[in-house]
C-alpha cells in the first residue's frame, strides 16, 4: 500500500509538471495578448504593462520564473485585476464553488442512487418509469436551460427564491438543484443497471432462499455491491462539481471559481489561466487517488498491491 501510494504520488507530480508545461506553451502559442485593447493605447503604455508583468522577457525565462514561484505556492498577479492575486482569486472563488458543488453533490448522491435502486427493484413499474423520466430530463436538459427554467418559474413567477446573487443560503438552492441534475441522473442510471445485474446473481437468490429478510438482502448484499460503479466515477464527479460550473455560476451570478476558468481564457489572463488549470488538475489527480483507495474499503476483492493478491 505504501509503495503504491508513493508510486502514485510521484506519477501525480510528473503529470502535474507535464500539465504546467503544456498549458504554459499552448497559452503563449494562442494568438492574443492580455493587454491588447480596442482603444488608443499608445505603444509605450503597452510596453510598460508588458514590462511590469515580465512579458518582455524570453519565454524560457518566463517559464523558469513561473516554475520557481509555483514551487513556493505563488500563482502570481492576475494580469487583469489590480485588486487580487491569482492565489486570492482561487482562495475566494473555490470555497464558493466547493460549497455549491458539495450541496449539489449531496442532493445528487442521496436522490440519484435511491432513485436508481427503486427503479431496479420495481423494474417496468411506476417507480422505474418515474425514476428514468427524471434521469432522462437530468441528462438531456443542459444545466443552463434548467437554470433558466428555474429562474423563470421558481424565482420570477412565484418569488419563492431569489433570481440570482450570492451571500445567503437561499441563494444556493436553485443553482445547487440545477447543478445536481446531471450527476443525479447519471448516478440513478448507473445504480439502476448495476442493481439489475446484481439482483439476478446467484448469491442474492441464495440469500433469499436462506430466508433472510428482503430489506437485509437488498441493503446488505445488493446495494453495497451495486454502488461500486458509482464510487468509480465519484472522483471525476466530485472534482467536476467542486471547482464549479461556469454556466450555472454565470446565469446565477455566483462568484465562484468556474467563472474564472472561462474569463481567464477569454481575456488572456495568463497567470489566471495557469493558476486555475493547475488548481483543477491537483483536485482531479487527488480525487482519482482517493477513489482508488476508497475502492479497497468497499470491495475487499480489490487490492492495491500485487502482494495483496
Amino acid at each position: 500500500m505504501k509503495k503504491y501510494l508513493l508510486r502514485r504520488i510521484i506519477m501525480s507530480i510528473i503529470t502535474l509538471w507535464a500539465i504546467v508545461t503544456i498549458t504554459f506553451v499552448l497559452m503563449h502559442a494562442v494568438p492574443g495578448n492580455p493587454f491588447a485593447k480596442e482603444g488608443k493605447m499608445p505603444p509605450v503604455v503597452y510596453e510598460n504593462l508588458q514590462k511590469k508583468y515580465g512579458l518582455d522577457r524570453p519565454l524560457i525565462e518566463q517559464y523558469g520564473i513561473y516554475l520557481k514561484n509555483l514551487l513556493k505556492g505563488d500563482f502570481g498577479d492576475s494580469m487583469k485585476s489590480r485588486v487580487e492575486t491569482v492565489n486570492d482569486m482561487i482562495g475566494r472563488g473555490f470555497p464558493v464553488s466547493a460549497y455549491l458543488g458539495a450541496q449539489s453533490l449531496l442532493i445528487a448522491l442521496i436522490i440519484g442512487p435511491a432513485l436508481g435502486a427503486f427503479a431496479a427493484l420495481y423494474q417496468n413499474k411506476f417507480p422505474d418509469y418515474f425514476s428514468m423520466i427524471i434521469a432522462i430530463i437530468g441528462i438531456s436538459v443542459p444545466g443552463f436551460i434548467m437554470g433558466t427554467v428555474l429562474i423563470q418559474f421558481v424565482a420570477k413567477n412565484v418569488s419563492w427564491l431569489p433570481i440570482g446573487g450570492w451571500g445567503e443560503f437561499r441563494h444556493t438552492l436553485l443553482p445547487a438543484f440545477a447543478l445536481s441534475l446531471m450527476p443525479l441522473a447519471y448516478t440513478a442510471r448507473l445504480m439502476r443497471s448495476s442493481m439489475l445485474e446484481i439482483l439476478g446473481q446467484d448469491y442474492i437468490k441464495t440469500a433469499k432462499s436462506k430466508g433472510l429478510e428482503k430489506s437485509v438482502v437488498i441493503l446488505k448484499h445488493a446495494v453495497r455491491n451495486a454502488i461500486l460503479p458509482i464510487v468509480s466515477v465519484l472522483g471525476t464527479l466530485i472534482s467536476n462539481t467542486l471547482v464549479g460550473s461556469f454556466v450555472i455560476e454565470k446565469i446565477f451570478g455566483i462568484p465562484g471559481l468556474g467563472m474564472f476558468f472561462v474569463k481567464s481564457i477569454v481575456s488572456r489572463d495568463y497567470t489566471l489561466i495557469m493558476g486555475t488549470t493547475i488548481f483543477y488538475s491537483i483536485i482531479l489527480i487527488f480525487m482519482l487517488l482517493l477513489v482508488d483507495i476508497a475502492y479497497t474499503f468497499i470491495d475487499p476483492r480489490i487490492r492495491l498491491t500485487k502482494e495483496g493478491r
Partner: protein, 535 residues
C-alpha cells in the same frame, strides 16, 4: 409495497421543503439597486481600465471639473480657473470646503501627486496617455523624462498650476475624466493597497465605498464630507456584479433592480416595440464601423472601398437588425459633438455617406478592373468580427447586402476579441469590425484615430494632408481654425473611405418609473448622483 412508495414520496417532499425559502424585502432607505456588469479591475482612478471601474469611480470621486445635469462642464473640486491667453497654462483654485471621505482636506498637492502618479511608468496605467497633454507628461511615461519635469504644480494647498504641451481646447473636460481624479496622497503613500478594500478606500466624491465583496457586490453610501451633499438625495447605491445580461434583466424585471444598463439586445427591441416607458435610449458618442485593409489589393483602391460603402443599407441595419435606437452613420464623428459656435458639429459637415447601389456597383466594378481583379476574385475575402450575437447579425446583413448589390460572396469569420485585435494590429485581415466610443466631447477623439502614426489606425490609412489637418486640430488655439480643419479632415477620410462607418452608438437603459434625476453624459455611463426614488 405501499410503504416503499411512501418513502419515495416522503423523500421527494423533503427535497421540496429544503428547496423552498423566502425572498428578501427592501428597506425604506433611498438605496438605488442596480448591476455593474463586471468586477472592476481596480477602484483606484489611476488603474481603472474602462466602464466597470469608471461607473463606480464616477460616483465616488470627483475631478477639478464635472459634467452637470445640463451636460455642461462646470467647476467641481475647483472653485474657478484661469487660463493664459495662449491657452497653455491653467491655474485652478480649489473650493474651501472640500474633504476626503476620511475627513482630510482635498489639496492641490493631492492633484499634483495623482497626475504624476498616473504617468509613472512603473505603475503602468492604461490611461496614462490622458495625462500626455500636460507638458513633460509623455516624456515621463515613456521613460525619457523625469517626474520633476511634469508641468503640474501645487502652488499652495488651494492652487494648482498646469502647463500643457500644446493648447488643448478640451483640457477642462479631461479634468472630469476618471484617470485625472485626485487621490489622497497621505493614504496612498501609507498603504499601496488602499484601493483594494472598502475598509481602506478613501474618495472625495458624492458617495464613498462601504462594501466590496469581490465578484459579488459593491455598496456605496452618501459621503457626509461631500461639499454638495444636500443635492444628493440617495442614501446609497447597491451594485450587484452579474455579467450575464439576461440574468441581470430578469432581476430588473423581477423588481430586484431600480435601474439597469446594459440591456440584452432582444429586450431593447421588444421594449421599443411595446413603447415601454421604462426604456431610455441614452445618447452616446460612438461609431460602429468596418476597417478596410488599405494595404492589400483591391482594398487599396478607393473605388472598391467606396463601392462597398455605398451599397451598405445602414438604415435597414439600424432599424431591423441592431434595433437599439442606433443612428445610421453620416460620417466618422457621431452626433452630439459641439462645434466652435456651440452648435451640433454634424450640422455643418452634413451627410457624408451615400446609399446609392447603382453608383456603388459601378465604382466597385471599375475599381476591381483597375486592380486586375474580377467579382469572383473578391469571394475569397473575409469579414472578421469578435464573437457576439449582435456583431454576427450585422455582419450577416452586410454580407447579404454586398451579395445582392455587388454580386460578391464575402466570407464571415468570428473569433475571440483578443485574437481579432491581434490580427488587426498585424494587418492580417481584409475587412474587420471595429468600434470606438469617445473619451471626451471633441470631434478630435475620433478624427485622430486615423492619423498615419496612430496605433489605432488599423486600416493603415495614410494621407499627409489628413495628418496636417489633425495636427492643426490638436494644436491650434483658434477654435474656428481647428474646427475647420476637423471638418476638412472628416470630408477627406469619407472621400477616401478606408473605414466604412455603419452606425452611431446609443446606450439604452431601463429605469423604473419611480426613479428620477438620472442623466446621461454623452461620454460616460448614466449618472445616478442626483437620482431619487419616488416610491
Amino acid at each position: 409495497m405501499s410503504k416503499k412508495y411512501l418513502v419515495l414520496v416522503g423523500l421527494l417532499l423533503l427535497t421540496a421543503i429544503i428547496f423552498t425559502g423566502c425572498s428578501g424585502g427592501s428597506s425604506g432607505e433611498q438605496i438605488l439597486r442596480t448591476n455593474n456588469a463586471s468586477e472592476p479591475g481596480s477602484l483606484d482612478p489611476a488603474l481603472a481600465q474602462g466602464t466597470h471601474e469608471s461607473w463606480v469611480l464616477d460616483h465616488t470621486f470627483e475631478g477639478l471639473m464635472k459634467v452637470d445635469p445640463n451636460l455642461q462642464v462646470v467647476p467641481a473640486m475647483a472653485k474657478e480657473y484661469k487660463v493664459t491667453p495662449d491657452n497653455m497654462t491653467y491655474t485652478f483654485t480649489l473650493r474651501d470646503d472640500i474633504k476626503w471621505s476620511n475627513g482630510d482636506p482635498v489639496t492641490a498637492g493631492d492633484f499634483e501627486f495623482a497626475w504624476k502618479r498616473v504617468l509613472d511608468p512603473e505603475l503602468a496605467a492604461d490611461y496614462a496617455y490622458q495625462a500626455y497633454y500636460i507638458k513633460g507628461g509623455e516624456a515621463y511615461n515613456t521613460g525619457e523624462g523625469s517626474k520633476d519635469d511634469v508641468a503640474v504644480k501645487a502652488i499652495d494647498d488651494k492652487t494648482l498650476e498646469v502647463t500643457l504641451a500644446a493648447p488643448t481646447p478640451y483640457f477642462l473636460e479631461l479634468t472630469a475624466f476618471y484617470a485625472l481624479y485626485p487621490v489622497n496622497q497621505a493614504v496612498v503613500e501609507a498603504n499601496p493597497d488602499w484601493a483594494k478594500n472598502a475598509e481602506t478606500h478613501v474618495s472625495n466624491g458624492p458617495f464613498t465605498l462601504t462594501e466590496w465583496e469581490h465578484n459579488a457586490s459593491i455598496k456605496i453610501r452618501k459621503n457626509e464630507n461631500y461639499y454638495d451633499k444636500k443635492s444628493v438625495k440617495l442614501t446609497g447605491i447597491d451594485f450587484d456584479i452579474i455579467d450575464d445580461e439576461n440574468t441581470a434583466w430578469q432581476k430588473y424585471e423581477g423588481g430586484d433592480y431600480d435601474f439597469l444598463s446594459p440591456l440584452p439586445q432582444a429586450v431593447v427591441a421588444q421594449m421599443k416595440e411595446e413603447k415601454n416607458p421604462e426604456l431610455v435610449i441614452g445618447a452616446e458618442v460612438g461609431t460602429y464601423y468596418y476597417n478596410l485593409n488599405t494595404k492589400i489589393k483591391p482594398f487599396n483602391n478607393v473605388k472598391v472601398r467606396k463601392g462597398l460603402s455605398m451599397t451598405l443599407d445602414r438604415e435597414t441595419i439600424v432599424t431591423k437588425i441592431a434595433q437599439g435606437g442606433q443612428i445610421a452613420a453620416e460620417g466618422v464623428v457621431p452626433l452630439g459633438m459641439k462645434d466652435e459656435k456651440g452648435k451640433e458639429y454634424r450640422d455643418a459637415v452634413g451627410q457624408l455617406i451615400e446609399y446609392n447601389v447603382a453608383e456603388g456597383k459601378k465604382l466597385f466594378a471599375e475599381g476591381l478592373a483597375e486592380e486586375g481583379m474580377t467579382v469572383a476574385d473578391f469571394n475569397k475575402f473575409v469579414l472578421i468580427y469578435n464573437t457576439s450575437e449582435a456583431h454576427k447579425k450585422i455582419a450577416q446583413a452586410a454580407q447579404e447586402m454586398w451579395r445582392v448589390n455587388l454580386g460578391v460572396e464575402v466570407g464571415l469569420e468570428n473569433m475571440d476579441f483578443q485574437v481579432k485585435l491581434d490580427r488587426e494590429k498585424a494587418g492580417d485581415f481584409n475587412i474587420s469590425r471595429a468600434g470606438w466610443i469617445g473619451d471626451y466631447m471633441d470631434p478630435i477623439t475620433f478624427i485622430e484615430l486615423w492619423e498615419s502614426s496612430s496605433p489605432f489606425n488599423d486600416a493603415k490609412y495614410n494621407n499627409p494632408e489628413y495628418d496636417k489637418m489633425v495636427k492643426i486640430a490638436k494644436t491650434s488655439g483658434d477654435k474656428a481654425e481647428r474646427f475647420e480643419a476637423m471638418r476638412a479632415a472628416e470630408k477627406m477620410i469619407m472621400e477616401d473611405m478606408p473605414v466604412v462607418p455603419v452606425y452611431f452608438y446609443t446606450q439604452p437603459y431601463a429605469q423604473k418609473s419611480y426613479v428620477k434625476g438620472v442623466y446621461k453624459p454623452l461620454v460616460n455611463y448614466p449618472k445616478l448622483t442626483y437620482a431619487e426614488l419616488n416610491k
